[in-house]
């Protein structure tokens, strides 16, 4: 039997896909851009969801990985565009799959360094130390002159994907949507695997995990690094969407927003981040049209969600989480 949650999940995914295709048919290009934003932010938050939702690691610095992915796209793309070699004489590249790989590997390296130090701590300390690392790299990016510093880096021509014209909004949407679905699928497989069980028990009860012979540290570190890698791929896509990358992708506001997406959608739910991203982008878009004070009302909406609607969108649509 297909559960109610999966029905809702399928409906959400199809709705996003249908919205983009309908926008294409109606010639409303901007709505495809919005749908693409939803897919990409959804993917970034899906990455965070692996650490935060499944592993209980409240990372307040995930924007760093998002930014690393963005810079991978920006740096490789700009070198490919200008033809100048990079450090060590390496060539740039405008191929998205290669860029994603570089983004994920770079984020993995950063994730290991940050994770090894941060995961020794827990609770508020973990929240704060991930924030501190993010601030550290944020200030580095601002003052690092080679790639634009605070001014950021423009990507004049969107990077390429084999067999598709990425400059067409719908094509780029489909790539982003595919990446989102792949990300969610990865999470689904991980969650059901032995690793997923171990991560889940570590989240529920770290002492217990150790007593049954599961060492929490490597499990948490692996989850943190995988999570960073997924978020970095989303960052690369985001840079391509905006044709621009800047340190503000690494700011603590961005980290906060990623958490917001997860909570809005429903913590620990597979499609929660996507649902949260959709809601957030629509709120931002529509409130911004209504009033100059939109941030005030955004704050109110978030507050009400946290206080009174704890399950988020999926909690509302698909009921409470069930465990087996």
């Amino acid at each position: 039997m297909i559960s109610r949650e999966w029905t809702v999940n399928a409906a959400l995914a199809l709705a996003l896909l249908a919205a983009a295709i309908a926008a294409e048919a109606a010639g409303q290009v901007f709505y495809i851009t919005l749908a693409t934003r939803i897919a990409i932010l959804g993917l970034a938050a899906t990455g965070l969801n692996l650490a935060l939702g499944l592993g209980g690691l409240v990372s307040f610095g995930h924007a760093v990985f998002f930014g690393i992915g963005g810079y991978a796209a920006g740096i490789l793309g700009s070198h490919a565009f200008s033809g100048d070699p990079m450090i060590f004489g390496l060539e740039g590249s405008n191929s998205m799959p290669l860029i994603w790989l570089v983004a994920a590997l770079a984020a993995a390296v950063a994730g290991v360094v940050i994770g090894v130090i941060s995961i020794r701590t827990s609770g508020v300390y973990f929240i704060m130390i991930t924030l501190a690392f993010a601030q550290m790299l944020y200030y580095f990016a601002i003052s690092w002159p080679a790639y634009g510093g605070e001014d950021g880096l423009s990507i004049f021509v969107r990077n390429a994907f084999p067999g598709m014209n990425t400059m067409k909004p719908l094509s780029f949407f489909l790539i982003s949507f595919g990446a989102l679905m792949a990300g969610i699928a990865i999470l689904a497989v991980l969650r059901g695997s032995r690793f997923g069980s171990a991560l889940d028990v570590v989240r529920q009860n770290e002492v217990r995990a150790a007593a049954v012979g599961i060492n929490p540290f490597p499990v948490k570190l692996t989850a943190f690094v995988l999570s960073a890698m997924i978020t970095a791929v989303a960052g690369a896509l985001y840079a391509d969407l905006n044709r621009f990358v800047s340190p503000s992708m690494m700011s603590w506001h961005m980290s906060g927003e990623l958490i917001v997406l997860i909570i809005l959608g429903g913590t620990g739910r597979l499609f929660g981040p996507m649902a949260g991203a959709a809601l957030f982008v629509l709120i931002e878009h529509n409130l911004g049209e209504l009033t100059e004070r939109w941030q005030f009302f955004l704050g109110l909406i978030l507050l009400v969600t946290v206080l009174f609607a704890r399950g988020g969108v999926l909690g509302f649509l698909a009921g409470k989480v069930r465990h087996g």
Partner: protein
């Protein structure tokens, strides 16, 4: 006498000026239940913490199956076969009883870093887990979330988890606590069988159970072992009577 399974020698642990564990030497032989008793605050918990690895001792050694494990972490000790139940039942509360036990099987197989195959349909996990549940008499409750199990059933589940880990020795921390007389009797007879499989270091307040089960008893007072011996020897030991049993007479 055969080589002890667990051999703790001259263990010392201080918190500031307080010596919570004061030169403790204690061992556990195959096939026996060795009970550790002592008044509240005697340092039983601190000792258990050091044996299972959550606290590091200041000095002394812990040997398990002939190997020095003094500096190993909690998870590594568990994987070597040092099975432990908790004073306060602490199990993954959101999981079913079966999945709790499956985790122990998974840990025993050393395979927490497999990322693809779904666990639910993995017979190499579910099979041994069901066997362990059957042994403690919980097979019929396998699919219930832990939160819905009774207190006694959670105790049984803890033991099933220790069994599934393939433990070579059990550290049981007050397994009788909170059980009704019926449950206590059932658990007592279960433990009497269990010791044939692997010896048990039993920390327990229920003196009836201790005297019924234990082959040997050690008495811990203010961090020191003041006596070790058979049930009869301990009953007769004057030091024990003054320090501990005297309170109850």
């Amino acid at each position: 006498m055969a080589e002890p399974v667990l051999q703790i020698s001259n263990l010392v642990k201080s918190f500031g000026a307080l010596r919570a564990t004061d030169d403790v030497t204690i061992d556990l032989h195959p096939g026996e239940i060795h009970a550790l008793i002592g008044p509240n605050g005697a340092g039983k918990s601190t000792l258990i913490h050091q044996i299972c690895g959550t606290h590091a001792p200041n000095s002394g050694t812990i040997r398990f199956m002939g190997e020095d494990i003094t500096h190993l972490g909690v998870a590594a000790r568990a994987r070597k076969g040092l099975g432990r139940t908790f004073q306060i039942s602490s199990i993954a509360p959101e999981f079913s009883a079966l999945r709790n036990v499956m985790l122990a099987v998974q840990a025993r197989q050393g395979s927490s870093f497999r990322f693809f195959r779904p666990v639910r349909s993995d017979a190499s996990l579910t099979g041994p887990a069901m066997t362990a549940l059957e042994r403690v008499g919980l097979a019929g409750r396998a699919s219930l979330p832990v939160a819905e199990l009774s207190h006694g059933e959670r105790r049984q589940l803890e033991i099933a988890i220790a069994l599934a880990l393939g433990s070579r020795a059990f550290l049981l921390d007050e397994p009788m606590a909170g059980m009704g007389p019926e449950g206590s009797r059932a658990l007592t007879s279960f433990l009497a069988d269990l010791k044939q499989e692997a010896p048990i270091l039993l920390v327990e307040h229920d003196m009836d159970a201790v005297f019924a089960l234990a082959d040997r008893i050690s008495v811990l007072v203010y961090g020191k072992i003041i006596a070790t011996g058979t049930v009869e020897e301990i009953r007769r030991d004057p030091a024990v009577r003054t320090a501990y049993l005297g309170d109850h007479d």
